[in-house]
């Protein structure tokens, strides 16, 4: 459960977050929609305690990431817009590194690596070094890293970009399994089809403010527009925001 209330963040003269409030429940996949530059990255960084907020409250299972960032991070799987692979390490070594950083013991870690590898269908690249991996292979490894330590919360920044059809299906399958496990998943995305198919809840942010929160159907109903994409554009305000 992630609860965010009136969070503001200012960098010099730039107001990156001007008041973001939402709650993402366990056992649900929550989409984070917003044009580029809306403050999604700043919001995610604030949630893992990399940035300090100027105002407001954040509680992740009741813990404030500013007070105890390590406890919060142990319980979060964070997939950024960069994969962060190491070319000279094999997939297994990469996963072992991050498992150890998350305090996992060796036998458990070995078992878990095989588990996530089976879940994402990446047995073929487990012993290979990351140099020369395709985009799809890279994101699979990054995703495996995110899921490795069985976090209760997942913050995913565009997890499906660059994936082929089979991998997208595998990802969708994995996310559904996590939801069934009772995980709280927040997923920033630009693919509306994914939102309608997968997400139970949608948060729309624009220019650092929460514009709306609700299920895809609710958002359509509220705006009186049947198509989610058009509803999103109307909520954000201008078409300009999307291009920016």
């Amino acid at each position: 459960m992630i609860e965010v209330h009136e969070v503001r963040k200012q960098f010099g003269a730039v107001q990156a977050l001007g008041g973001v409030s939402f709650s993402a429940r366990d056992g649900q996949i929550t989409a984070l929609l917003g044009p580029n530059g809306a403050g999604k990255t700043t919001l995610l960084r604030t949630l893992v305690g990399l940035l300090r907020r100027d105002h407001g409250t954040i509680a992740i299972d009741g813990v404030d990431p500013e007070q105890d960032p390590l406890a919060v991070r142990r319980n979060i799987g964070f997939l950024t817009d960069q994969f962060g692979l190491y070319e000279r390490l094999s997939t297994r070594e990469f996963l072992t590194y991050f498992g150890e950083l998350n305090g996992m013991a060796a036998p458990d870690l070995r078992r878990r690596i095989d588990e996530v590898s089976a879940l994402l269908g990446m047995d073929d690249i487990l012993e290979r070094r990351a140099k020369g991996f395709s985009q799809g292979q890279r994101i699979k490894v990054a995703l495996a890293r995110t899921l490795l330590h069985r976090p209760r919360h997942l913050l995913l920044d565009e997890p499906s970009r660059g994936l082929d059809v089979m991998s997208t299906r595998a990802l969708r399958h994995a996310l559904t399994a996590l939801r069934a496990d009772g995980c709280c998943v927040i997923m920033a995305t630009h693919v509306m089809q994914e939102v309608t198919q997968l997400c139970d809840d949608v948060i729309v942010i624009a220019k650092g403010h929460t514009v709306a929160q609700g299920s895809p159907e609710e958002l359509c109903r509220r705006t009186g527009i049947a198509n989610l994409e058009d509803a999103f554009v109307s909520l954000v305000g201008t078409e300009e925001g999307i291009a920016a």
Binding site: R45, L70, R73, Q82, F83, G84, R88, F98, L101
Partner: protein, 394 residues
């Protein structure tokens, strides 16, 4: 459970050891310097000892016409060989073979002109590109002495005092000793001997900070349950390990070569035992830690691998500066020199090479000054990594 900094350390070390090209370059540098040093000193020793071992040989074409000259050469222990008649190309080939520093050719009419008291021509052939000016000077001296001897005898026959021909008398004194010349040399050698401490840690320090930032994996890493100081310490220790390995290897190799060479022949001394060397290596560990700490602290602020590399290549020259200044201003060894990292190591090794018993304090100071600087650098790097401005720029 392994401490977090150890997890980072082991991962960075594994990655570094897999970068074969960088490792090859580092070991080449580390091994090449002592090898070059050995070759250079050996060459110098050979040159310094050569004239005593075997006398100079000279080729004189038509030696039979000037028996007095030949005997004067013999008195100066210069052996005369007559290679027989040779043309210009033959003489050049003879000189290029480096057996003779010079070739004299007496013209066919030498005897005739000599007897008639006309100037008798002697051709002196030499190769100025050849490195044997000292031997050529000996030959010139013999020729001059021969000429003035003959002139004196002739003047005397005419009733004129030979002293008329020598209005002045020049006597040369060279105060430069081998020892003073080699003091400059050994200063230069020691200055560079500790450089691997700075060079060997550079690739890792840059790759694990600026490189990681450039590849955009730093943000992921910082979002893990690990404190910034643990991350910095892991990366710092990896870079320092390489520096320690490099500098220890180089010192050991240089020591083996310097103790094996007969340095006293050129007035140098290297009075260190292996136990002394082990002590020097021990107090050089903090220097490596400082070098790695400084480089991590600087490289982490660079946006790209290339930027970090250019910053560090400039910074790498800074530790050499105090040593250069001290040797240029010809300062006497003083206590404060043991408080400057790098300079303290150089001073310590120089004093020990001279065979001076420095006592325990310089060792302690050398160790402490670098250790303190290392802690400051790592403290700064950790503080920097924690700052929000750094998070924003990764």
């Amino acid at each position: 459970m392994k401490p977090k900094f150890l997890v980072v350390y082991l991962k960075e070390l594994r990655e570094t050891l897999r970068d074969k090209r960088t490792l090859a370059l580092l070991s080449l540098f580390t091994l090449m310097y002592p090898a070059m040093l050995g070759y250079m000193l050996n060459h110098q020793i050979k040159r310094a000892t050569k004239p005593e071992r075997d006398g100079v040989e000279i080729a004189v074409i038509g030696a039979g016409q000037a028996p007095t000259l030949v005997s004067q050469f013999k008195q100066r222990s210069i052996t005369v060989k007559d290679p027989g008649a040779l043309d210009e190309a033959g003489i050049t080939a003879l000189l290029q073979a480096h057996t003779y520093p010079a070739v004299l050719r007496l013209s066919d009419k030498f005897g005739e002109n000599y007897a008639a008291m006309r100037p008798a021509r002697i051709e002196l052939w030499y190769d100025s590109a050849d490195d044997n000016s000292k031997q050529r000077r000996d030959i010139d001296d013999v020729l001059d002495a021969y000429g003035s001897n003959v002139a004196s005898a002739r003047l005397l026959a005419h009733g004129v005092s030979p002293a008329t021909l020598a209005p002045i008398q020049v006597q040369r004194f060279d105060t430069g000793t081998n020892a003073s010349r080699s003091a400059v040399l050994i200063g230069g050698i020691l200055g560079v001997l500790f450089l691997p401490a700075f060079i060997c840690c550079m690739p890792t320090a840059v790759d694990s900070t600026a490189g990681e930032r450039e590849r955009r994996s730093m943000e992921v890493l910082m979002a893990q349950p690990i404190r910034p100081w643990e991350l910095v310490i892991g990366k710092w220790l990896t870079a320092a390990s390489l520096a320690i390995a490099g500098v220890t290897l180089e010192l050991a190799l240089a020591h083996a070569i310097l103790s094996w060479l007969p340095l006293e022949e050129i007035g140098m001394s290297w009075s260190l035992g292996w136990a002394d060397l082990a002590l020097v290596c021990l107090v050089t560990i903090p220097l490596c830690l400082f070098a790695a700490g400084l480089q991590v602290a600087l490289a982490m602020n660079a946006k790209s691998f290339k930027e970090a590399q250019s910053i560090l290549s400039i910074v790498m020259l800074v530790p050499l500066l105090p040593g250069v200044v001290v040797s240029m201003m010809e300062l006497k060894t003083a206590g404060w020199m043991y408080m400057v990292p790098m300079l303290s190591n150089q001073t310590l090794l120089r004093e020990m090479a001279k065979g001076i018993d420095v006592g325990a304090l310089p060792f302690a100071m050398t160790f402490a000054c670098s250790a303190l600087a290392a802690l400051l650098a790592v403290g700064f790097a950790s503080w920097r990594m924690k700052s929000e401005r750094y998070v924003l720029s990764v």
